[in-house]
């Protein structure tokens, strides 16, 4: 673990990723202290300063009711990170377990589990999440539920494919020959070999969950105003292009920075964990 971390620090790209991710996490956690206008995260109007291009003290400009965009982006990071972490914490264990059972056990278990997975995978993710959000009231919790519902099958599919090719590898056969239990083989032999792929996907996915949540917000199906949300900021701002460019560009860049950071780390992690095997 420490070795992994020191390798991450040595590579300039992953170092950049660590810096970006730390910056995002820190600004989310300490938004109350960093934000120049902490009250602007909520329902505040300042019509004297509305729709201002970036200028001091509004370094990212102001929105259409005069709120500081920079402050709002910091608070939006908080929401995005909570959403990302919770979604993955629920979706990954479910997806991985189903994938292992289906891939290793085969037969009817595989058939039933994979057909259910296929049903979820056969509906384009956004459409599935949209249908769910149409059904539920648009709140943060329900947003998490909808995104989780569309997220677990990706892990099932990934682990399923890995498990299917791993189970014919020599080391699995060896374990079976010496009489290891099925659970042992799945979780002790096959799972460790899937970890690099799962971890890579998870780091990448932290970014992608933020992306998907922003797409949902683009449809008006995400976190509700006045709570700041990067996706709805981009979507609402896009109406005012190209003139009020800051309304779209800064929240868009904020998404880019966060996701880019997670991607850089995920990428490096993949290299390192792959090399250690």
């Amino acid at each position: 673990m420490r070795r992994t971390f020191s390798i991450l620090l040595r590579n300039p790209l992953s170092l950049l990723g660590l810096i970006l991710v730390s910056a995002v996490v820190l600004s989310a956690v300490f938004a109350d202290f960093i934000a120049p206008f902490p009250l602007h995260r909520g329902a505040v109007v300042d019509f004297a300063n509305f729709n201002k291009p970036p200028e001091w003290p509004y370094i990212f400009g102001t929105d259409l009711v005069g709120r500081d965009l920079f402050s709002r982006i910091l608070y939006a990071y908080r929401i995005s990170l909570i959403l990302g972490v919770v979604v993955l914490a629920i979706a990954v264990p479910i997806g991985v377990a189903i994938g292992l059972f289906a891939g290793y056990l085969g037969g009817w278990t595989e058939y039933v589990l994979m057909r259910i997975t296929d049903v979820f995978l056969s509906i384009p993710p956004l459409v599935l999440a949209m249908s769910m959000m149409g059904l539920l009231e648009p709140t943060l919790t329900n947003g998490m539920i909808a995104v989780t519902a569309m997220w677990w099958p990706w892990y099932t599919r990934l682990v399923y494919n890995l498990a299917r090719s791993e189970k014919e590898e020599g080391y699995v056969l060896a374990a079976e020959v010496i009489g290891a239990s099925k659970l042992h083989v799945m979780f002790r032999e096959i799972l460790p070999n899937c970890v690099p792929s799962i971890l890579t996907k998870m780091t990448l996915d932290l970014g992608f969950v933020i992306l998907i949540a922003s797409s949902l917000s683009f449809l008006g199906l995400g976190v509700q105003p006045p709570t700041p949300d990067l996706g709805s900021m981009v979507a609402d701002g896009a109406k005012y292009l190209p003139d009020s460019w800051w309304l779209t560009v800064f929240p868009g860049l904020a998404i880019l920075v966060a996701v880019f950071g997670f991607n850089l780390i995920g990428d490096a992690l993949r290299e390192i964990l792959g090399a250690e095997q």
């Binding site: 505040v44 109007v45 259409l64 008006g220 006045p226 109406k239 005012y240 190209p242 003139d243």
Partner: protein, 535 residues
């Protein structure tokens, strides 16, 4: 590896060559004039179902009606009807001879009767305007007699919303359905034109675009400078419209562009077209639920609301704004309205005085301020109200409601939010169609009436407006109504809406630029035959 790269390079070269070819051919000059405009999807072509702005534009151009609104003056004039007489609850219309549908069939009294029956049978769109009709008969080929169930003096004004369809053509194209009339031609009319109007539909896709061509045989003659082809596009994004107009690829925007975008377009040299006096922005209070069941609390809010800030918020420049000061429940210029000088003003002292008389304590109040998700402008008004009400010590919460959810919630008073924001228009230009649906106790609980107002005096004046036969009597009833509606404040009358459209200089639209040529009917300014192309 190398070969992959080579293929990729070849593809790139091919792609850029294509771009060059098409760029060169994109400037094919054409002699005929084309007008391009946009509206929100869907464009409903079936005139019996027309209700929103896009539908109305289609209906007013593809179909004709018995009467049309006067230009530059209130009231209406004959169109397909040359003249009419009223005898109690019966109206007799003489039709203009020689009018032909696009199909070549002559337009007769049979068609009028059929259109009215069809409208009533479908029961959607604005058909509620004709529920009052008992029966329609063709007296002879050129005479129609319409009998009402009860007295309804603005009936002739309602006829601007009765498009006449080609009975013969529709009957030849009935789709599957039960009963003698099967589907009343719904399948056919949703994609085809059975009208007599100044424009014929050449292609129609409800989500994408309707293309119309000038009808050379129109009975009033085709305007020489009117566009030869009209392309009504649906569902364009604001940024797209803004760019297309700047690049000369689009002519008239919809009215749904945010003020900032209209401002940028005007700054780039676009002209601003306006339509006013047909709709208003109403902030509606649920009068059945605490604390707004107390009139003093309602009056406190109505006095605390910053009317000037609201109008500034929708201003485009110093001369044009999407809102004009409101003077009460009735739009300035309409029958019974107050004059423009009596504009609503914020009065914090009065607000505090009313609040002190309210039976609820301000610290116990937490208002639910809703806004319709499809209308982002309302979020800004919700924020404005929240700030305004906080100044008199009233707390509130903002809630975004998608239209579908809103229209479901208002069907029960207990689910209806304390405050809803709505743009309401008079679909016929008469105060009756503006106010009856909002404030009559028999109409409560629709999307227009989340106030759930139950007031005998209001009902009385509204009924008088329907039965009084002369304009003076009706005017008196509506003035009294207006006064009462200000006193009991079921709504905050935020502003009289001005629809603002950005347009290229290629087109002149007198009806939307010159008040002396304006129509007092929402959407009628888009009568294409009265527009002029400048090239």
């Amino acid at each position: 590896m190398k070969s992959i790269l080579k293929t990729f390079a070849a593809a790139l070269v091919a792609a850029s060559a294509l771009t060059a070819v098409t760029a060169a051919t994109a400037t094919v000059a054409s002699a005929e004039t084309v007008l391009r405009l946009d509206e929100v999807a869907v464009g409903e072509l079936d005139p019996g179902k027309a209700s929103d702005y896009a539908d109305s534009i289609l209906m007013f151009n593809v179909y004709d009606t018995l009467v049309i609104p006067n230009q530059g003056a209130p009231g209406h004039q004959g169109h397909l009807a040359e003249s009419w007489t009223a005898d109690g609850n019966a109206f007799t219309f003489k039709l203009r001879p020689g009018v032909k549908f696009h199909s070549g069939n002559p337009l007769t009294a049979e068609d009028v009767v059929f259109s009215l029956d069809r409208m009533k049978a479908l029961g959607s769109g604005l058909s509620y305007l004709f529920e009052i009709v008992d029966k329609a008969e063709a007296v002879d080929e050129g005479t129609v007699k319409i009998t009402l169930k009860s007295a309804y003096s603005p009936f002739v004004a309602s006829l601007v919303r009765l498009p006449i369809v080609d009975k013969k053509l529709v009957m030849a194209n009935l789709g599957a359905g039960d009963g003698e009339m099967k589907d009343w031609g719904q399948a056919f009319l949703s994609g085809n034109d059975a009208g007599s109007g100044a424009y014929k539909v050449t292609s129609h896709n409800p989500q994408q675009e309707t293309v119309m061509a000038k009808n050379a045989d129109y009975f009033l003659g085709a305007g020489a400078k009117a566009p030869d082809t009209v392309r009504l596009r649906y569902g364009l994004e604001a940024a797209t419209v803004r760019t297309l107009i700047a690049q000369g690829e689009h002519d008239i925007s919809s009215q749904w562009l945010p003020p900032e975008v209209l401002k940028s377009l005007a700054g780039d040299g676009a002209q601003l077209l306006t339509e006013s006096g047909t709709s208003g922005f109403y902030i509606k209070m649920n009068t059945t639920k605490a604390p707004l069941d107390d009139v003093e609390c309602r009056l406190a809010l109505a006095n605390a609301f910053d009317y000037d800030a609201g109008i500034k918020m929708v201003a485009i420049n110093d001369t044009v704004s999407q809102g004009k000061p409101s003077t009460g429940a009735i739009l300035v210029g309409m029958l019974g309205a107050n004059p423009a000088e009596m504009a609503n003003k914020r009065d914090l002292d009065a607000a505090k005085a009313h609040l002190a008389k309210c039976k609820y304590k301000p610290e116990d109040i937490n208002l639910e301020l809703s806004w319709i998700g499809e209308v982002p402008l309302e979020e800004r008004f919700a924020l404005l109200m929240q700030a305004n009400f906080a100044e008199i010590g009233v707390k509130s919460e903002i809630k975004k409601l998608p239209w579908a959810l809103f229209s479901e919630q208002v069907s029960k008073p207990e689910n209806t939010p304390n405050i809803s924001q709505l743009f309401v228009s008079s679909v016929t230009g008469d105060p009756d169609t503006l106010l009856y649906g909002m404030y009559h106790s028999s109409a409560k609980g629709t999307w227009q009436s989340p106030e759930y107002l139950q007031d005998a005096e209001v009902d009385k004046y509204l009924d008088e407006g329907r039965t009084a036969t002369d304009d003076a009597g009706r005017g008196a009833a509506y003035s009294a109504l207006n006064k009462r509606l200000v006193e009991i404040a079921p709504s905050i009358y935020a502003y009289d809406q001005v629809a603002v459209f950005a347009a290229s200089k290629r087109v002149s639209v007198p009806a939307l630029t010159d008040p002396a040529k304006a129509f007092n009917l929402s959407g009628f300014g888009f009568t294409f035959r009265l527009m002029e192309m400048n090239e």
